[in-house]
């Protein structure tokens, strides 16, 4: 088993995903960046599961995949709702409510 290469790969994917979430203005691209983070998590879980000879890591991955699909489904529905009402999915333009 060569754990490090998987962990480094996952860490790089995670960093790219976080960078994407923080810098992208397009709602769909933010969701795609979040998918990158979730895939980093999946790689981590499978690699660790193989390291420990333990099945629960892979079970966890199945749940992450299923829940990620639900999250993205809901996310895209909300983004489309916004697009329908204001013809733009730029997150930075959503500023009616000021913190």
């Amino acid at each position: 088993m060569f754990l490090n290469q998987f962990l480094f790969f996952a860490a790089i994917l995670f960093s790219i995903g976080v960078y994407g979430v923080l810098t992208r203005k397009n709602g769909v691209l933010v969701l795609m960046s979040i998918e990158l983070i979730l895939n980093a998590v999946n790689i981590n879980l499978v690699a660790f599961g193989a390291l420990h000879q333990d099945i629960s890591g892979q079970v966890f991955v199945l749940f992450v995949i299923a829940v990620a699909a639900a999250e993205v489904g809901v996310g895209l529905a909300i983004v489309l709702l916004i697009f329908r009402n204001r013809r733009s999915i730029n997150v930075a333009e959503a500023d009616l409510l000021k913190g």
Partner: protein, 506 residues
């Protein structure tokens, strides 16, 4: 390729499969709510428009029906704790109190939504089904002692809430509330998951108890710290702790008001339950990392929340920031869990119960008042005592409770916090207790400002016609008011239920 698949298959068939023994009574609350939720969906699909009016009643019954097994489990106290699925799911007194709290909160939310949803032009049947799904997630959360079930429960709570926040489809503000909540929430759960994957890697098991054992060996401390920080960030978003609170005020203002009450009470409480489960069960030996983190988060959260709440002119926004500050209070006991772990769950659960009653009550008043004034601006509450004395008295009681003034329940909740924090003379605890005391004074200013508005200032538009309160909202108001007052006058009753709670280890 096929040979490989066949070898995999051969491996699988070698191991005999033992059907897991399931304690059906222990999971009955969840099963009842699941079955009731499915039934409501089927009724909705068969009846469509004809059954719309029935939906709130049916959902309320679903919550009350799920409360019955909680009570029967509670009555068989000598059989607790019940441990299922190899210790991944534990039913103990702690989780039963929380299940009761979540079900009653769901019931009150259903009452608050009844008129709001039927009078607006919304899809209301789905709203109640989603509330039931979210509450189901909370029931699962309170028993979860495993990373997978905590994650699934958290998502079951959050995903319906994203949809409900954007429920007013044509309203851009509601869309925006949903978008912000969804993006922040999904991002937070992704970060939480990364922390969880590191924890799994350290322990080789998803069970919290095994993680605690693996972490206590004390190897790879930097990795442990990283995993803890990521997990805490993830939960910090859910409970709207500063600096992860930015979604809360916008979402609270833009979302439908009953959903705001739901987010401020139930969803936040569930976040704290997850935090408690993970910190107390999985990180018992890591107090040197977790305690300072929690102390800083709690102190910053309550201070920032209160200072921004002082400047708000909209009552819902003010309640949002006050909710951020309250999150700081609730989190405070976790800063001393290393030495006082026996008393931390009781103090936090007591606060959550009383917080649920007083905050739901305040939102009930907001919803009732908005039916007449059509606004949540603080100035619109001027002179309310003149034309709605009962409502004013109730709101005064809730605000006193939030500020921690006797006889309303909030003082007892705060008192419990102080007791835990000062117990054992920990430097961190005493410092946090002082910060908490200063913050209570700041908070009293803006809570009492609303009271002053309602009692002494003139009505802005001079419209002093009476406020008509529909029956559902009356019941909600009465229920929350009862809990708020009784817990303040007879705190012994609350501590009989939520005192001396422990997280049972499987």
């Amino acid at each position: 390729m096929f040979a490989y698949a066949a070898s995999l298959l051969a491996q699988v068939t070698l191991e005999p499969f033992n059907r897991p023994a399931i304690d059906w009574h222990a999971v009955a609350p969840e099963l009842v709510l699941l079955a009731a939720g499915a039934l409501i969906t089927i009724i909705d699909l068969v009846g469509l428009e004809r059954v719309r009016k029935l939906m709130p009643t049916l959902t309320s019954f679903a919550f009350l029906a799920a409360l019955i097994p909680v009570l029967t489990l509670w009555s068989q106290e000598d059989e607790l704790p019940r441990s299922l699925f190899d210790g991944a799911y534990v039913v103990d007194r702690y989780s039963l109190v929380l299940k009761g709290l979540f079900l009653l909160t769901g019931y009150v939310i259903a009452l608050l939504s009844t008129n709001y949803m039927s009078e607006g032009d919304y899809y209301d049947s789905e709203f109640y089904q989603l509330i039931a799904a979210s509450i189901l997630g909370m029931l699962v959360m309170s028993s979860s002692r495993d990373l997978i079930s905590i994650f699934v429960a958290l998502e079951l709570i959050s995903i319906p809430a994203y949809l409900m926040a954007a429920w007013r489809k044509r309203d851009l503000r509601s869309n925006e509330a949903g978008l912000k909540y969804m993006l922040m929430g999904v991002f937070a759960s992704a970060i939480l998951l990364y922390g969880m994957s590191l924890l799994y890697g350290l322990a080789g098991s998803t069970k919290l108890v095994d993680i605690a054992a693996a972490l206590s060996i004390g190897e790879s401390k930097p990795l442990i710290t990283l995993a803890i920080v990521f997990s805490v960030i993830g939960f910090g978003f859910k409970v709207s702790a500063v600096p992860f609170h930015t979604w809360a005020p916008d979402t609270y203002e833009g979302a439908p008001t009953p959903l705001t009450a739901f987010l401020a009470v139930a969803s936040k409480a569930a976040g704290f339950v997850a935090l408690m489960n993970v910190v107390i069960v999985a990180f018992p030996g890591q107090s040197d990392v977790v305690e300072p983190l929690m102390a800083v988060l709690a102190g910053v959260t309550m201070t920032v929340g209160n200072l921004i709440a002082l400047r708000q002119t909209n009552l819902v926004r003010m309640l949002a920031y006050s909710g951020v500050a309250q999150a700081g209070y609730i989190m405070a006991p976790l800063a001393v869990y290393g030495t006082n772990v026996d008393r931390v769950p009781s103090a936090m659960v007591t606060y959550l119960v009383i917080y649920a009653a007083m905050n739901l009550g305040a939102f009930a008043v907001v919803i009732i008042a908005a039916r007449k004034t059509g606004s949540a601006e603080i100035s619109s509450y001027g002179g309310m005592f003149g034309y709605a004395p009962g409502l004013t008295l109730a709101m005064t009681m809730f605000l006193f409770s939030l500020a921690g003034i006797p006889p309303a329940g909030g003082w007892w909740a705060k008192f419990e916090l102080f007791r835990v924090l000062t117990d054992g003379n920990r430097y961190l605890g005493i410092m946090l207790a002082i910060v908490l005391a200063v913050n209570s004074v700041i908070a009293a200013v803006y809570y009492l400002n609303i009271t002053r508005q309602m009692w002494f200032l003139p009505t802005p538009d001079g419209d002093t016609s009476r406020i008509v309160t529909p029956p559902a909202l009356q019941v909600a108001l009465a229920l929350t008011l009862l809990v708020t007052i009784v817990s303040g006058i007879l705190p012994g009753l609350v501590s009989d239920i939520s005192g001396s709670l422990q997280l049972a280890l499987p």
